[in-house]
C-alpha cells in the first residue's frame, strides 16, 4: 500500500470519484473472478483512456491486479481487486460511514 497524506483518514487512492467507482465495481465481483477491460468500461461508462489512467494508479497502490492474456490472437486484459484492495475499499466505506455518523457525544 502507498503512504501519503490522508484526508480525514480517508485513503487518497480511493477518495476520488472515478477510482471509487472502479473499486466499487470490482468489489461487486466475487472473489476469485476477473472482469475484462471492455466489460468494466461498459459497467462504468468511462472512456478507455480515463479508465486506464485510474487503473494504473490503483495497480500502483497494489489494489488492482491486471492480468494480460490472449483470447485467440487478440490480447485481452482482465482486472480484479486484490485482497488489500478489498480491505482498502471496506475500510474506506467504513470510514465514510463513521464520518457521517451524528457526533452527539459519541454514542455506542
Amino acid at each position: 500500500m502507498t503512504s501519503g497524506p490522508t484526508l480525514n483518514g480517508l485513503d487518497p487512492v480511493i477518495h476520488a470519484e472515478s477510482r471509487l467507482r472502479i473499486t466499487a465495481t470490482l468489489a461487486a465481483v466475487d472473489r476469485g473472478d476477473r472482469l475484462s477491460f471492455p466489460r468494466l468500461q461498459k459497467l462504468l461508462d468511462m472512456t478507455a483512456g480515463n479508465l486506464s489512467t485510474h487503473l494504473r494508479r490503483l495497480e500502483d497502490a497494489g489494489y488492482v491486479e491486471v492480468t494480460k492474456t490472449f483470447e485467440g490472437r487478440t490480447p485481452a486484459t482482465y482486472l480484479a481487486l486484490t485482497d488489500p484492495g478489498r480491505v482498502a475499499f471496506a475500510t474506506y466505506t467504513a470510514a465514510l460511514r463513521a464520518l457521517l455518523r451524528p457526533t452527539d457525544g459519541g454514542s455506542a
Binding site: 480517508l10 476520488a16 471509487l20 466499487a24 461487486a28 465481483v29 466475487d30 473472478d33 472482469l35 466489460r39
Partner: protein, 205 residues
C-alpha cells in the same frame, strides 16, 4: 469525470457514489431471476397443461402436446443460456467454473433420466407407467438439483422451489396419470412464475 484526490469530495456524496455504482454493477452482472424463472414457469405451466388436456379431455393429440412441451423446454434452456451468457460476459474465474460444473450436473442428470426411460420403455412399460415415471423422475432430478444449488449458494428461494418440486413429484406419482400432469402444470409452473414475480419485486425494491 476527472477529479483529484487532494480536493477531498464530500463524504455523503462519495458514499452515495459507491453504493449506486455497486448496485448498478450487480444489476448488470447478476442473471435476472424474472427472466429465467419466467421462461421455465411458462414451459412447466403450458407443457404439462397441454398433456393433461390431451389425456383427460382429449382436446388435442398427445403427440402435439408432447412436441409443444419439448419445444418449450428447449426454448427455456436457450433463454437461460443466452441470458446467463450475456450477464456474465467478460467475467472470468471461479464463478465461471462453478457455473459450468452446475450446468453439467443438469445435463448429465437429464441424460441419465432419458436413458432410464428408454430402458423402461424397452422393458415393456405401458404408456401410463412411462407418463408417470417421466413426471416423477423429472421432479426428482429438478428438485434435488434446486435444493443443492439453494444450499450451496445460500439461496432460500431456490431451496424452497426444490422442496416444492419434490413434493409435486411424490404427490403426482401417488395421484397417478393424468392428475400428475395437472399438478406439474399448476403447482410447478405456478411456483416458477411466483419466483419470477418475486425476483421482479426484489429488483425494484
Amino acid at each position: 469525470m476527472t477529479d483529484d484526490a487532494t480536493r477531498g469530495p464530500d463524504p455523503a456524496a462519495m458514499l452515495a457514489v459507491a453504493e449506486e455504482q455497486q448496485a448498478r454493477a450487480l444489476r448488470l452482472l447478476e442473471p435476472d431471476g424474472a427472466v429465467i424463472y419466467g421462461a421455465w414457469g411458462v414451459a412447466w405451466l403450458v407443457g404439462p397443461g397441454l398433456m393433461w388436456l390431451s389425456r383427460a379431455h382429449d382436446v388435442l393429440p398427445i403427440g402435439v402436446a408432447g412436441a409443444v412441451f419439448a419445444a418449450l423446454l428447449l426454448g427455456a434452456g436457450a433463454v437461460t443460456a443466452v441470458h446467463v451468457g450475456r450477464r456474465t460476459q467478460g467475467v472470468q474465474g471461479v464463478s465461471q467454473q462453478t457455473g459450468a460444473l452446475h450446468g453439467w450436473s443438469w445435463f448429465l442428470g437429464f441424460a441419465t433420466l432419458t436413458a432410464i426411460m428408454a430402458a423402461t420403455a424397452r422393458a415393456g412399460a405401458s404408456d401410463d407407467l412411462l407418463a408417470l415415471l417421466w413426471t416423477a423422475l423429472s421432479c426428482l432430478v429438478v428438485g434435488v438439483l434446486y435444493m443443492a444449488a439453494g444450499a450451496l449458494w445460500r439461496d432460500l428461494v431456490q431451496y424452497s422451489i426444490g422442496v416444492w418440486i419434490l413434493v409435486i413429484g411424490a404427490a403426482g406419482a401417488l395421484a397417478g396419470v393424468p392428475t400428475n400432469q395437472l399438478l406439474m402444470s399448476l403447482a410447478g409452473g405456478g411456483v416458477f412464475l411466483g419466483a419470477a414475480a418475486l425476483s421482479r419485486l426484489r429488483r425494484r425494491a
